[in-house]
């Protein structure tokens, strides 16, 4: 089991945003998380790599409890790549520097070796000619593909995507989804928050529907989309499909 979330609760002050969440993600599984705005999807992802501290419950990454005070969170995060809606590329560095920084500083990989790997990743996302460009000169779709390459450079065992295409112009969405589809095909374990139902159908092994801080329903994509069991799922799907 790659990710195991047990009885997770998360509150911001008085506001309980995640109410007893239980999920597990197996190796090479692609889990898609859908749900209305404010349902807690981002918060769940952010708890999984401890960008938010959890209020109660447990999160295990490859069996190691990350909510344990003694857990080395920097070490665990190396195995958990994250891609953000707003890309969060480092604007003061070139594309190449963005990609090689963490491998060099965190994993202590030699510059030449990190560079070689970075070029390989840039080829994979179709942007090798942008190695020396600065992020500000790239389109949104290009930025997001670089952000994916940057996360992959740490050779993570799993990847979390938080609405990776929501900030993109429609014509850019396809390029980013293609990269993600290939990643899924290569066997990456992925948790993807998205509104792209086509993507969920095509590459998702399982879809989780969240609402109001609960997991309301989960099933394999075809089942969930064509035969939802819960009223809230039906109501949501009738709006987005």
């Amino acid at each position: 089991m790659m990710i195991q979330v047990e009885n997770l609760k998360k509150s911001f002050g008085e506001n309980e945003v995640l109410k007893n969440i239980n999920v597990s993600v197996e190796k090479q599984e692609v889990v898609v998380v859908i749900g209305p705005s404010g349902s807690g999807k981002s918060t769940l992802l952010r708890c999984i790599n401890q960008l938010e501290s959890i209020t109660s419950g447990h999160i295990l990454i490859e069996g190691a409890d990350i909510s344990d005070k003694k857990a080395n969170i920097n070490k665990i995060r190396q195995d958990v790549g994250m891609v953000f809606q707003q890309f969060n590329l480092f604007p003061h560095m070139t594309v190449l520097e963005n990609i090689i920084l963490a491998p060099m500083k965190v994993k202590k990989i030699a510059r030449d070796q990190a560079k070689e790997k970075a070029i390989e990743l840039l080829k994979k996302v179709g942007l090798e000619e942008k190695a020396d460009a600065y992020p500000d000169s790239l389109s949104g779709g290009q930025k997001q593909r670089i952000a994916i390459a940057r996360a992959l450079a740490m050779e993570p065992k799993m990847m979390l995507f938080d609405e990776p295409t929501s900030a993109l112009d429609p014509e850019m969405v396809g390029d980013v989804l293609d990269v993600m589809k290939r990643l899924a095909k290569d066997g990456m374990t992925m948790v993807v928050v998205t509104h792209e139902m086509g993507f969920a159908r095509e590459v998702g092994d399982r879809v989780i529907f969240m609402d109001g801080g609960y997991i309301v329903e989960e099933n394999e994509p075809h089942e969930l989309f064509s035969n939802p069991q819960e009223e809230r799922t039906k109501a949501f799907l009738s709006k987005v499909l």
């Binding site: 790599n49 920097n74 995060r77 190396q78 590329l89 480092f90 963490a102 965190v106 940057r150």
Partner: protein, 218 residues
């Protein structure tokens, strides 16, 4: 009676040494103030309220009281307590540095906090520690942003260093007051130093602009 250039010329060596002292005090204030200011700004940003409290008080005191009063306290109170005797140069350097640090600390803090939270999150999600994220991601971006306001602080410091003439530190304004006392001349000494201060602050803003341009293209 005309403008007595001849007397200014006669005071030339004194003005020159006064100017060197003004430059020295300013540079000391800039260097020590920046180093201390960086420390104080990190102190103030600590999450633990008890740990950050002394830094908050420090900034509050030095920004909330007149520099002139600080100079008097340090010259007549603090320095004699430490050295056993008064010393205007030491007192001047300490007062300017401590005061500058409080302002620089606030400039740094504003600069660091102006960097988008997502930058830190991206860095941390790649496995970087808090300090690695600070060093490689946040500080390089913050430095670019704080350069213009820091330049303004440095310019203020050059001008404010004139206040230490009150404790007879041998800087430029003190030389001018001496000349004023000796010849009962007003325009000659004070216009002369005003002119020199202007040159110094212009040089300072030129340097800051150059740095800004260099950083912008990098």
């Amino acid at each position: 009676m005309g403008f007595r250039f001849d007397l200014i010329w006669g005071y030339g060596p004194l003005f020159l040494s006064g100017m060197m002292f003004t430059i020295g005090f300013s540079l000391a204030g800039i260097v020590f103030g920046t180093i201390l200011g960086l420390i104080v700004s990190f102190g103030k940003m600590m999450k633990n309220k008890w740990l950050s409290a002394p830094f908050v008080c420090y900034i509050g005191f030095f920004r909330g009281t007149p520099l002139f009063v600080q100079i008097l306290i340090i010259h007549f109170g603090v320095v004699p307590k430490i050295l056993g005797q008064s010393n205007a140069i030491v007192a001047g350097v300490i007062a300017l540095s401590l005061n500058e640090a409080a302002y620089i600390a606030e400039v740094f803090r504003a600069g660091i906090q102006s960097i988008d939270e997502g930058q830190t999150e991206a860095a941390r999600s790649l496995g970087m520690s808090h300090w690695q994220a600070m060093r490689y991601i946040i500080l390089p971006q913050a430095v670019k942003r704080v350069l213009p306001p820091m330049g303004n602080e440095f310019i203020s410091l050059i001008k404010d260093s004139s206040l230490i003439s009150a404790i007879a530190a041998p800087e430029m304004t003190y030389v001018a007051t001496e000349m004023n006392a000796q010849y009962t001349l007003v325009w000659e000494p004070y216009l002369t130093i005003a002119f020199i201060y202007l040159i110094l602050t212009l040089i300072m803003s030129f340097i800051v602009h150059r740095l800004e341009r260099r950083m912008a293209t990098k």
